[in-house]
Amino acid sequence: MRFLRLFIIYLRIGLLYELQYRANFWIQLGKSIMNLVVALAGVAVIYEHTTNLNGWVPAELVALLGIFVLMTGVLGVVVRPSMEKLIEDVRDGTLDFTLTKPEDAQVLVSVSQVRVWQLIDVILGPIVSIAALLHLERQVDLQQMGIFAITLLAGTAILYSFWLILATISFWFIRIENIFMIFHSLYDAARWPVTIYPGWLQAALTFLVPVTFAVTVPAEALIGRLTHDYLMLTIGLAVALLVISRLFWRIGLRQYAGASA
């Protein structure tokens, strides 16, 4: 399908680009490993003092951490760089070059930038989660795996739509580069199960910046805690946001095309 073909083309370009800066590979590897070590060390310090964090035992928390890393990678490979580039293009007026190409504009702007080395996180994350699951000696049946996969896809779709909506806002308010920082700050909270946070913060993490669905929900699915209702909610939200973000994008494009002088 076209989307995949375009993604691979841009992946190759991204790869060529990144290989110029040989240090980036080592730096990203170092960063990912260090982030992981820091996170694990943090978990270790916590569990020196308790065996149970709001119902989560250490291995479960590590599994959640693995999902966090995986999602960071998924977002970092293509969603984040492409959306940041989109905002730049809107600001500099260079979005025109994309709009004159014979492909759907939303597809093009969504895969325009590929940071290949973020794939390191995409590989590291699952490794950590699998190791944690093995430690738990818990059986994960096929149905559970299926649900997990669905929540991952749904989570990715939700976050992608959210980023797209944020980026589309730049059609009206051009100088919003920093808006993504809000996301990063709130996303950091997703390292821990969202249920530990006070009500207002949980609400922010679910309704304002939907990171709950990115990390906690798939993690709960993986260790078998996800309720059926919540699963339906997640899927529903994913579909709804994909539709809403597409509509919003179309409106934003019309605004952009109309406004350029």
Binding site: H49, L53, L186
Partner: protein, 268 residues
């Protein structure tokens, strides 16, 4: 000479304040991150305390809240960002205009930093008050601790600023210092008392933390005002801070001339 420095600092401070005000939206957004992380870890530790019958180590819910909220304020007062920017300045050649003028870039950066802190007080104070009301921390310091807090924070700021500015100078030798910066941030996260009060770290972690200057940059003022330090320990702390400021000054002084020698401006 001293008069001139007063003049330079006063004038540049006013100007940096004006510039920073133009970027107030960005300032607010940065503050969100600065506030959120301590809150996240406070909640995590409070959850632990709840499970363990209300206490973790020598902290209860009230003192945990006090620690993290005060730490948030002190962290805000002492942090800097120049290690992230130095590389950009070197590569883009924007250092040129700084080097041609007869003022050491160090002064500019510290003034800019202070301007940011002063401007962001407008947000930090109400937000801290709000969080204070929500988390209900317990804090009963003796009067002298209040007096000692100001100097402790000021010295902590200088220790950290000199240290991080020296670190930033590595950008003259290494193209991409983000790896090193991240390593520093990781060490700081544990050893300065951001992730947890130092007494909650495993014993070997505490030993390392006490040997390194990071806690002087953050945990020391917090512990001081919470009454967790004896007057002797406070005096020792101040002395160590002064020592590290001296070391920092020396480092900047020695490395700077070599750094500017390394500086190969880009472009024809």
């Amino acid at each position: 000479m001293r008069a001139w420095f007063g003049d330079i600092y006063r004038t540049l401070f006013k100007i940096e304040l004006a510039v920073m005000f133009q970027y107030r939206a960005a300032v607010v957004i940065w503050l969100i991150g600065l506030v959120l992380q301590p809150v996240i870890y406070l909640v995590v530790w409070l959850t632990v305390a709840e499970t363990e019958g209300g206490r973790v180590g020598d902290f209860d819910a009230g003192s945990l809240s006090a620690y993290f909220l005060i730490m948030m304020v002190v962290n805000h007062a002492t942090f800097s960002w120049h290690m992230w920017e130095m590389g950009y300045r070197v590569r883009s050649g924007s250092f040129n205009s700084l080097l041609v003028q007869p003022l050491h870039p160090f002064h500019r950066d510290i003034i800019q930093n202070m301007a940011y802190k002063v401007l962001s007080l407008a947000i930090v104070v109400p937000v801290t008050a709000l969080l204070w009301w929500f988390f209900e921390p317990t804090l009963t310091p003796d009067p002298w601790m209040w007096l000692a807090l100001g100097p402790a924070i000021a010295l902590a700021f200088l220790v950290r600023f000199f240290f991080e500015w020296s670190l930033a100078l590595l950008a003259f030798w290494i193209t991409d210092t983000s790896g090193l910066n991240n390593l520093y941030m990781a060490l700081f996260f544990f050893l300065a008392g951001r992730m947890a009060p130092i007494s909650l770290l495993p014993t070997w972690g505490q030993t390392i933390a006490n040997a390194l200057p990071f806690k002087l940059m953050l945990a020391f003022p917090v512990e001081l005002v919470m009454g967790r330090l004896t007057p002797q320990q406070v005096m020792d702390g101040f002395l160590m801070q002064i020592l590290w400021i001296g070391l920092g000054w020396l480092t900047v002084h020695l490395v700077w001339s070599r750094a500017s020698a390394r500086y190969s401006a880009v472009g024809a």
